[in-house]
Each structure stands twice: as C-alpha cells, then as structure tokens.
C-alpha cells in the first residue's frame, strides 16, 4: 500500500501533464491559427485557415475537457482550490472558447462574414491569453491554508508575471499555429506564415528568457528548486537542448522546409513543458500542496487508471487516424 500511495498520484500527475501537453500543442495551434486569422489579407485565405482546423478543433479542445475531468477525479482538492483561485481567468477562457467555437460554425452559414471573423480571432486571443494567466498564476503560487483551501485575493491573477506568461503563451501559440500553416498551405499563404513564424519564434524566445530569469526572483520555492543539486542535471541539459532546437527552428525556416519547423516547435513545447514539470513536481497546487496531499483515494485512482489508462492509446490511435485521413495541403473551395 505504501508503494501505491506514492505511485498512483505520481502516475496521475504524469497523465495530467500528458493531457495538458497534448491540449497545449493541439489546441495551441488551433488558437494560434485563430489569432493569425485576424491578419489574413483576404477572405479566401482566411477560409483556408479555417478549413485547416475544420476536422480537428473540437477533438483538440476535448483534451482540455479530459484534463479537467482527470484533475477533478484524481486531485479533487486541487480542482476546487485552483479553479476557485482562478475564477476570473477561467471564465474569460471559457468565454473565449465559446466565442471561438460559435464564430466558427456561424461564419460558415453567414453571408456577411466580418463580425464572425472578428469574433473567431478575438475569441482565440482571449482563450490563449487567459490560459497564459492561469499558467502564470499557478506557477507563481496559490496561497492556501493548512487544509489546502484557497485563501488569497480574487484578484491574485492580476500581476506582471502572469501577464508576461500570458503574452509569451500567445506568442507560442502563434508560432505553433504558423508552423502548422506552413505544413498545411502552399504558395503566398505559406510564405506569409514563414514570416509570422520567424517573428513569433523571436518574441516567444524573448518571453521565455524573461520568464526564466525573473521566475527565481518571484518565487522562493522556484529559487530553491533551481539551485537544488538533485535537479541540477535537468537545469543544465534542458536549456542546452532548447538552444539547439531554436537554432534548428530558425535554420529550417530559412531553408523553407515544410515539416521541420512544426516538428521543432512541438519539441520546444515538450521541452518547456518538461522544464515546468520538473520545477513544480510534486506540487499540484504550487507552492505547498503536493499530489500526495491533494489526491483522491488510492482505490479511486486505480479504478480511474484501469478505465482511462486503457483508453489513452485508443484515443491517440483514432486521433492520429483523423490527421492521417486529412493529411496534405488544404485547398480553398
């Protein structure tokens, strides 16, 4: 039993991280494309952008629903505490996702597409920004009492460091959205998004550097973790890999490659994510509440794992099939 009480929360932490990572990558490019659609020079080009998302956006968004359900089931305390602390940005995110989704469907049936184009782009931007604020607030810590309940101000998420994370995440989404479009389009539109990818890569890099260098000053816990010798190898290897990937990303963009910019961006996302994971683990409500304190019962986690664990490869399989069925360039019409 000792073993399971350590093992099961850890497994669920990893599964949650996987769901969140899949969400950030997959809906990340959806939201990025949504933001980029605000800059589309013509209606036909915007249609290509939207068509590239048509068959995938709702499945991609479902990873967020799944992450929510799994967090609720595996760490009920964290679900209540974090969502209550983030009341404002969570509802802003929901608002953004609702605007994005309905604009997508309404635009198809509308004669005058302009208001829905605007709503699609702004909804995407709002969702991306709110997610960044949620992430930034959780990373800088959520004050709790001894029982793990939220005790801070309802405005805890309004601060400069959350804003920096939000802006950086928006840039990251624009980057992955641009590289997805390089993959799915051709000609003039593809060249346009090589340029947006290059720009977004530079701004994302700037934001990431800013976060990396300011985080240790903002949070005591992060500072300790960064200088903890156990984790030192991670904090040496991860930045080096990051630099290598960024160099590769810029090179592949310069060489007009189609697939590699997207692949390198995804790898950069995974790398950043691993870095964040190592910084917070085993906290599920940073800085103080760990996965062991916030978890549901062991039997509950075992039960969930038998069902959801089996389904993870199946879900991945048919999602990948969906991408394969629609592989290749998107054309207007």
């Amino acid at each position: 039993m000792e073993f399971l009480e350590w093992f099961m929360p850890t497994v669920w932490f990893v599964i949650l991280a996987l769901f969140l990572l899949l969400y950030v990558i997959l809906d990340g490019f959806d939201l990025g494309v949504g933001i980029l659609s605000l800059t589309s020079p013509s209606e036909s080009q915007r249609t290509i952008l939207m068509t590239s998302l048509g068959n995938v956006w709702d499945a991609n968004e479902t990873w967020l629903v799944l992450m929510g359900g799994a967090l609720f089931g595996a760490f009920p305390l964290a679900y209540g505490t974090i969502l209550k602390a983030l009341y404002g940005p969570i509802y802003l995110m929901i608002l953004g996702l609702i605007l994005r989704a309905v604009a997508f469907e309404f635009r198809e049936n509308a004669v005058n597409k302009r208001p829905w184009n605007l709503m699609f782009g702004i909804g995407s931007l709002l969702a991306a920004g709110s997610q960044g604020i949620c992430l930034g607030t959780v990373l800088s810590g959520i004050p709790t009492d001894a029982a793990g309940h939220f005790i801070g101000s309802p405005w805890i998420w309004v601060n400069p460091s959350s804003l920096v994370v939000a802006l950086t995440l928006i840039q990251g989404y624009v980057l992955i959205g641009s590289t997805y479009l390089i993959l799915k389009t051709s000609g003039e539109l593809q060249r346009l998004h090589v340029r947006t990818a290059r720009l977004a890569a530079a701004t994302t890099l700037g934001g990431a550097l800013l976060i990396t260098f300011t985080a240790p000053f903002a949070s005591e816990t992060l500072r300790q973790r960064l200088f903890d010798p156990t984790f030192l190898p991670f904090f040496v290897v991860l930045p080096l890999l990051g630099v290598a990937l960024i160099v590769q990303l810029f090179r592949s963009l310069a060489m007009q490659q189609e697939v590699w910019p997207f692949v390198y961006t995804v790898m950069l996302f995974i790398l950043s994510f691993a870095g964040l994971g190592v910084m917070v683990f085993p906290a599920v409500i940073p800085p103080s509440v760990t996965i062991f304190q916030a978890s549901s019962s062991v039997s509950s986690m075992v039960f969930m794992l038998t069902f959801i664990g089996v389904l993870i490869p199946i879900m991945l399989f048919y999602n990948i099939y969906n991408y394969i069925a629609f592989r290749g360039k998107v054309s207007a019409e």
């Binding site: 479902t62 089931g73 679900y79 969502l83 209550k84 509950s300």
Partner: protein
C-alpha cells in the same frame, strides 16, 4: 431583490442558466446522430443518391448544433471547481472520475470521429465513413450514460460511505449503477431521440407545407414518424417508471411534484390533482382541480395505495424542496407534451394507413403542419421541464440526504459570480438568437438535390464546411 442575493443563490442561478442553455444542444448531438446512422445505412444498402443527400442535409444542422454544444459544455464541467469546490472535495473521488470517463470514453470518441463524418466523404472508404458515423452516435450516447449516472448518483448516492466530509467509494460499480441510474439513462436517451425526431418531422412539415423538395421531406418525415412511433410509447413507460423510482427514493420530490401536503395512509385512495395553486405559506393548495381516487391508479396502477405517502407538511421546511408551484407545473408540462406528441403521432399514422398522408396533405391542412412544427420546441420544453423537476426537486440537497446545496457552494465574492452570471445571460441570449437564425437559413435553403455521392474513383477534393464539393 438584488441586495438579498447571496452567493449560493447566484451560483445556483448560474448553474441553472448554463445547464438549461447547454441542454438544448446535446439533444440533437445524441438523437440526430442515430438518425444519421440510419440514413447512411440505407444509403449504403440502396446506393440511391436521395439517401446520401438526406445524410448530408441533416448533417449540416448537426454540425451547427454540435459546436455550440461543445462550447457550452465547458462551463458545466469547470463550474464544479470554480463555484462548487466543497462538492468537488466531498464527492470528487467518484463524481470527478465519472466526468473523466465521460471525457475519455464518450466525448473524445464523438469529437475524434466527427471530422471524418462531416468532411471525410471523399477521404476515407465508405465503410470507414459509416463506422465513423456509428462512433459519433455511440460516443454521444455514452455521454448520456455517464452524465446521467453521475446525476443519478447525486439523487441516490450509493456504493460507499460518508465520513469526515467525504464520500469514500467502496464499490465503484454500485456507485455507477446506483438505484436511479438505469431508468434515468433510458428516460434521457429516449428523450433525445424523441425530440430529435420531432425536430426532423417539424422541419419536414414546414418544408412540405411550402411544397419545397416534397419527395425529400416526405421521406424524412415518414422515417422520423416510424422512429417516433417506436420511441414515444416506450418513453411514456420510462416516464412512469421514473416517477415510481422517485416515489420510492425521494418522497419529498414526489410530494412536491404532486402538491401533496398531507400524509396519505396505505390502503387509502387519494385524489389526483390536475391543476392547483400551491401555497407554501399555509401548506395547502389555494384551489385545485382533481380527479377523485385517481392517484393510486397513476402511481401504482391499482385502486388503493400499497404504501403510505408522506405529504410536504410532515417534513421540516429545511428538509424538503421549495418552489412547489414550479415543480408541480414543470412536471405537468413535461407529461402533457409527451402525451400530446404521442397523440399527434397516432393521428399521423392513421392518416398514413388510410392513404391520406402525402406531400400535398401538409399544404392542404396547415393545422396539421403547424401541430408538427410546434412539436419540436415542445420537445425541448419537455426535456428542460424534466430537468427542472429532477434537480429543483432534489433540493435542499446537492447530494440527496448527504450534502446540502448551501454547503456545496464555494464562498466567493458576490460581485464575481454576479459578473459571470450576467455575461452568460447576455451571451447565451445572443447565441440562441443567432443559432436559430442560422438554423432557419439552412432550412430555408433546403437540401442540395444535385449533390453526387462519392464514387469509387472520386477525386480527392476537400468539401467545404457547408457540404458543397
């Protein structure tokens, strides 16, 4: 009024508003998906382009509806954390797991295959396409199963013990298969199919009344009618069974939906109240219209009650639901709509059987067309009323008999909840108006009767969102 609003009331209002709005969309996502499976099966068997065009036309409404359903579902899940954190902590072990299963088993299945179902006609072989449509329908119906299982657990919590402010699961299968589960899942699944078919029949009747694409819409009307005739009688039975389980497990809810104030002894034969003006202050009805001796016939199909029934007055006021008038009439609205719709179906069957049902009938008898057209909004109203009975009738409990709603809500600043509630109220009103507008545009435009089915040597062309290649 505003000054007296506390955060629990606001969170309840917000949950009610978002749930009532959300419920509008999964109806078609679930019920119409089954219709699409039937159409595609007929098409694959006959290879008649008419059935292919049917599948494509109804899928257009399906996708418009689906997007709003996905988006409006998000606040349902997240509210458990933002506004109902004590409930999440109390019941998360079980309740959260079930929402997780719903996501992994049902929701992802539906979303993962939807893209292929909508845009994959020329991308995958017909068998794979058919399989995708089946998976969308299967996923949507699995959602019904998990959501109704979770909600039933709130009604009849079982499968574990309650101690130190937590539900501890001992037997997951007993918790999933709680006393309310089976009959509630059946009642809801039938409701989605019935209302979806009313929608198909209503749109068909509207188009036939205007003599638009008569062959096309006469077929869709008849197919919907056949399914309705199979489903509606079963639904009356399922509805009755649901009332019986309420009598067994939630006596306060039964007393409220029947405005039953005083105890009734076993062996007695109380009257059944048809209409009344319930007055909670005096604990009686101001006036009522009732059928003597009918209550036990309706509940137990026998002349006398076999079990005593407790009236509302025998409970302390903090242990029984309020808003008795709402519960009493919501229940009656649901039942009346179910019965009236079934009568309309029987009448239409009679016409069909006597050879009087043709495309021209709908133009000749506008009242007949209008009866069918109005049956669609009535179907939605019946479903919403049913949910009001189910969840308002559960009060003052969130987890029946175990966790009070007042204790299940997060302590939040009133302004915060008031803001999110107001935004939802405005946003959802606007969305509903536009959804109806765009839906009616699809209907007014009608089906594309020149659409060619994907051939074996079909070129690889990506259809656009409106379904035109």
């Amino acid at each position: 009024m505003l000054a007296t609003l506390d955060v629990v009331t606001l969170s309840r209002l917000q949950f009610a508003l978002t749930a009532i709005f959300h419920m509008l969309w999964p109806v078609l996502s679930t019920g119409l998906a089954i219709y699409l499976v039937v159409l595609e099966a007929i098409w694959l068997r006959t290879r008649n382009p008419l059935y292919y065009q049917q599948a494509r036309f109804w899928a257009k409404l399906y996708v418009l509806n689906f997007g709003i359903g996905v988006a409006s579902g998000l606040p349902m899940e997240f509210q458990f954390g933002t506004n109902w954190a004590p409930l999440s902590e109390f019941a998360g072990d079980f309740f959260g797991s079930v929402l997780g299963f719903e996501g992994a088993m049902a929701f992802m299945l539906e979303a993962g295959f939807l893209g292929i179902m909508l845009f994959g006609w020329n991308k995958v072989p017909p068998v794979i396409h058919f399989l995708s449509t089946v998976m969308v329908a299967f996923g949507a119906n699995l959602s019904v199963f998990w959501i109704l299982s979770a909600n039933s657990w709130l009604q009849t919590p079982s499968g574990g013990t309650f101690s130190d402010g937590h539900f501890h699961v001992q037997n997951y299968f007993a918790a999933i298969n709680n006393p309310f589960m089976v009959r509630s899942v059946i009642h809801m699944a039938l409701a989605t199919v019935e209302t979806s078919m009313l929608v198909v029949a209503a749109i068909s009747a509207w188009s036939l009344m205007r003599q638009k694409a008569p062959e096309f819409f006469l077929f869709s009307f008849k197919l919907a009618l056949v399914i309705l005739l199979a489903v509606a009688p079963l639904q009356i039975l399922a509805g009755h069974e649901s009332a019986v389980q309420v009598a067994e497990h939630q006596p306060t809810k039964l007393a409220a939906i029947e405005a039953l104030w005083d105890d009734q002894a076993a062996g007695s034969s109380p009257a059944w109240t048809v209409l009344a003006s319930p007055d909670e202050a005096s604990g009686s009805n101001r006036w009522s219209l009732s059928v003597p001796g009918a209550f036990s016939w309706i509940l137990e199909t026998r002349p006398q009650l076999s079990q005593p029934l407790r009236g509302l007055n025998s409970w302390p006021t903090d242990q029984r639901p309020h808003m008795v008038g709402l519960l009493f009439y919501a229940f009656r609205v649901m039942v009346a709509i179910g019965l009236a719709a079934t009568a309309l179906m029987a009448l239409s069957l009679l016409l069909w059987w006597r050879g009087g049902l043709s495309a021209a009938s709908f133009a000749r008898w506008p009242w007949f067309s209008w009866a069918w057209i109005l049956s669609a909004p009535a179907g939605y109203l019946a479903i919403e009323s049913g949910w009001v009975v189910r969840c308002v009738g559960r009060q003052p409990w969130t987890v029946y008999g175990q966790l009070r709603t007042a204790d299940a809500a997060s302590v939040l600043p009133v302004g915060e909840v008031l803001t999110s509630l107001s935004v939802f109220a405005v946003l959802y009103t606007v969305l509903l108006v536009f959804a109806l507008y765009f839906g009616s545009r699809i209907i007014a435009k009608g089906p594309n009767l020149t659409l060619e089915p994907p051939g074996l040597a079909a070129p690889m062309i990506l259809p656009d969102r409106s379904g035109n290649v």
